[in-house]
């Protein structure tokens, strides 16, 4: 205890002194990871979050953005509860970072797992994933209004497919039900790819897939986007209107960020922030975000923390209206 205290203080003093003396751009230049960096993923292998985290890892490796290798570790149990607990048990660690998604807020709200995300150290938000309402290309529905009419006609038997209950897709569905006063049958599936396939196969009537999950089918002319839940139209679908421009307050994002444990040393935070900033400027990342209609909205530090807390409050509200809160 004493040992780690003095070491950390010593490092901090040295860093401050150096920064003051030589007016270095950041303390990051002095601190380098001493061992492989563990990248904890809040989801299991093979899902969207996992694929994205491994994409980050490969870009870091390829562009040599870190002096030590990055090791992805999946801790997806309990909608990420496992990863959240793990991070909160490793306070002060400088070699563990976590890739987050929206279960970063929803999991601690839905179940009391003894984790307060306010304590974690925000590092960088890499992107915001978007949501779009999809129907099968064989369907007659062309617009949001027609969709609403069709759902009302179905009288509660309209099948909306999505990821697990309490996860992002079900929240968007709840928002739709709320806005248009609808009664939808929500069918949960294991992952976004599974959902997309079931829409194209005609087993469900509509989905709110991320564009990346439907892109393959969309390009093949098998699915049709109706409306995007973004403030502005997506570059990938210039003809698809947004709900906001039609006068409905329906905006929902999936955030893809990195956080560190509580009390992560400031030098390490600076190091990772710089690493991710460089990553966000690489060509691979720029192409990927453009192809998959992701908004590459880079955000760090206190602003990111403020964003997290605001989103948490918003999610608590949606979950409460769904009757999903833990208390």
């Amino acid at each position: 205890m004493f040992h780690s205290f003095t070491r950390r203080t010593g490092l901090a003093i040295a860093a401050t002194a150096l920064a003051a003396m030589a007016a270095m751009p950041a303390a990051a230049a002095d601190w380098k990871p001493q061992k492989p960096i563990e990248m904890v993923i809040m989801a299991g292998q093979g899902g969207g979050a996992d694929r994205l985290a491994r994409l980050f890892q490969s870009i870091i490796q390829k562009e040599n953005l870190a002096s030590m290798p990055v090791l992805p570790v999946n801790k997806g149990g309990g909608s990420g509860a496992e990863a959240l607990r793990y991070l909160s048990d490793n306070a002060g660690e400088a070699h563990k970072i976590m890739a987050t998604l929206n279960s970063y807020y929803t999991t601690p709200i839905r179940n009391d797992i003894g984790v307060d995300i306010e304590e974690f150290t925000p590092i960088a938000r890499m992107a915001l994933d978007t949501f779009v309402l999809w129907v099968n290309a064989d369907s007659d529905i062309q617009t949001l209004d027609e969709w609403v009419a069709a759902v009302k006609d179905a009288g509660g038997t309209w099948k909306m497919g999505g990821t697990g209950t309490g996860q992002e897709d079900s929240l968007v569905t709840a928002m739709l039900e709320d806005t248009f006063d609808l009664d939808i049958t929500y069918v949960p599936f294991k992952g976004g790819g599974d959902v997309a396939k079931n829409l194209v196969g005609g087993h469900i009537d509509s989905t709110v897939n991320n564009p990346s999950e439907q892109m393959g089918f969309y390009n093949a002319g098998k699915s049709r986007p109706l409306v995007a839940f973004t403030p502005e139209r997506l570059a990938a679908f210039p003809d698809v209107p947004t709900a906001s421009e039609m006068g409905y307050d329906l905006v929902y994002w999936m955030q893809r960020s990195f956080v560190g444990p509580k009390e992560m040393p400031a030098e390490a935070v600076a190091y990772y922030t710089e690493m991710f900033e460089k990553l966000s400027q690489t060509e691979e990342w720029q192409t990927y975000t453009a192809d998959k209609a992701l908004m590459a909205d880079f955000l760090t530090g206190d602003e990111l923390q403020a964003y997290f807390l605001e989103e948490r409050a918003k999610h608590a509200e949606i979950l409460n209206s769904m009757g999903e809160g833990s208390s």
Binding site: R54, S79, E82, T185, F189
Partner: protein, 506 residues
């Protein structure tokens, strides 16, 4: 004939010296990865994935596919030698592979597995080459109702053929189904059976933990007990005569192997199912259609050939929805998909049109990977068999270490190690009481899939149970399942009547 010219172009890619070297390297690595319990193709592909940037994308995917293929061959090795299925796809291989090894025929069992894998792999690659594009639509026709019907069919092909005490089989299936409900419920998102609040149970009980526990640890405990009086020596060696003998025996199994290949390919192609149910169904069918079903489970070479053809065929089949629909059928294909996205390739209905070089390069590399895998595998069999000649006291300690490392490695939780210890003791006791362990493990593998698709269908169809029989595909599967369930019972009853009539004196 356009296809043939495309395939020829593909071979031009896959037979380049670099790609050929990559296939051999990948297959060898995969073989060892698959042979280690706890290290499966998922881990192998995940480790190698970020290293693939040094080669062009088509070589990179060839490397990953070669590892995937090699691991499928290797899975049989630990099933036969140690009785621990290295992956869920190799469970059925233990049923007859392990007894063969115990009777000193480990070499023969491994040859059977390698040859069967080769046959299954090759037939399915041919099917893949010809039907990849049209079959994608069949995969799409599979919704939750069809998934449920298929899993039910997988259960009945096995249950009906249990042969052992039917009551005990049913008890073990129920126990496995209970274990399969542990963890976070997909539909409601609530944790179930987490024993108070043990966070380790949130992600459920993995197949590997149960299999390593009841087969690996349980087997060691059982062997320690039985070898106390008479130390068990496994006279395992492999001569060329045995090798030739093995090939001759395999030559008589064409029917089993073709059934296994077709079944494996089609079941593997369906995104939800994959290689595990395929291998079990192939074993079940081989046993029912056999003239001497009672020899299954005691070391019948056919019982090794059937599941091994099917699981290799299924692993090729599961590449189909991944490439044509962008839907991974298994965690490994999900990683392959991730790799393709990284290289800027978009799997999906357009891939075959937009990237023919890549697709046909990959398909042709499956042919070369198959040849490389069977050759390397057979060459290494003497080495694998030699491992069995270690004194039991050494081997037993090594198996225990492998069990613990293999159980800890995938999730890195001590929780799983304790579970393995617990399941090991439970498995040993159940074995002593003569309860079959296979149904327990199978129920854990298939249970979550069955429950999920059952509930999805009921939600989607507003609770209408008839939905399962009204849809043509699922209705057919349900009918087949019913047939498979009743058939053995009829056989059983008839058999009894016959016995009473023919041999009253006995």
């Amino acid at each position: 004939m356009e296809m043939l010219s495309l395939l020829a172009d593909g071979f031009a890619t896959s037979l380049s010296p670099l790609n050929l070297a990559i296939v051999i390297l990948g297959v060898t690595a995969g073989l060892f990865i698959g042979a280690m319990p706890g290290l499966g193709s998922v881990n192998g592909v995940a480790i190698v994935l970020p290293l693939t940037f040094i080669v062009p994308p088509s070589s990179a995917i060839i490397l990953l596919a070669a590892i995937y293929y090699g691991a499928m061959y290797g899975g049989a090795v630990s099933s036969v030698l140690l009785g621990i299925p290295g992956a869920s796809t190799a469970v059925a291989t233990t049923f007859d592979g392990r007894p063969m090894a115990q009777r000193g025929k480990a070499g023969l069992a491994l040859i059977a597995a390698a040859v069967a894998s080769f046959v299954g792999g090759t037939i399915s690659v041919v099917l893949f080459t010809i039907f990849a594009v049209p079959l994608a639509d069949l995969a799409l026709a599979f919704g939750p109702a069809e998934e449920f019907a298929l899993v039910l069919l997988a259960f009945t092909t096995f249950v009906g053929l249990g042969g052992d005490d039917i009551l005990k089989t049913i008890i073990m299936i129920c126990l496995g189904l209970v274990l399969s409900t542990v963890g976070l419920d997909l539909i409601s998102g609530q944790p179930r059976l987490i024993f108070g609040d043990l966070p380790g149970f949130y992600s459920g009980i993995s197949f590997l933990v149960l299999a390593i526990g009841v087969y690996g640890v349980g087997e060691v405990l059982h062997t320690i007990e039985t070898s106390k009086s008479a130390p068990q020596v496994t006279p395992a060696k492999l001569t060329f005569r045995e090798f030739g003998d093995g090939l001759r025996q395999m030559n008589r199994l064409w029917k089993t192997m073709s059934v296994g290949s077709f079944l494996g390919f089609f079941v593997g192609m369906l995104p939800a199912a994959g290689a595990t149910p395929a291998s079990l169904m192939a074993y079940g069918i081989a046993k029912t259609t056999s003239k001497r079903p009672e020899t299954f489970g005691t070391g019948n070479i056919e019982g090794v050939a059937a599941p091994e053809t099917a699981n290799n065929a299924a692993s090729t089949g599961s590449l189909l929805p991944m490439l044509t629909l962008g839907i991974p059928g298994s965690p490994t294909t999900a990683l392959l998909l991730g790799g393709m996205v990284m290289w800027g390739l978009m799997p999906g209905p357009m891939l075959f049109i937009e990237q023919p070089d890549f697709v046909w390069g990959l398909i042709s590399s499956l042919y070369t990977a198959n040849f490389a895998a069977v050759a390397i595998n057979i060459a290494l069999i003497p080495l694998f068999v030699w491992a069995l000649r270690m004194p039991f006291t050494v081997l037993c300690a090594m198996v225990l270490v492998l069990c613990i490392v293999g159980g800890f490695a995938p999730s890195q939780k001590m929780h799983d190690v304790w579970l393995i210890a617990g399941f090991g003791v439970a498995g040993y006791l159940l074995r002593k009481a003569d309860y079959p362990l296979a149904p327990l493990v199978l129920a854990l593998v298939l249970g979550p899939l069955m429950e999920k698709s059952f509930r999805q269908t009921l939600i989607a169809e507003q609770g209408n149970l008839l939905a399962f029989v009204e849809r043509p595909l699922s209705g057919t599967f349900i009918a087949l399942a019913a047939l498979f369930f009743v058939l053995p019972l009829l056989k059983h009853v008839r058999g009894k009547e016959k016995k009473q009539v023919v041999t009253p004196a006995e």
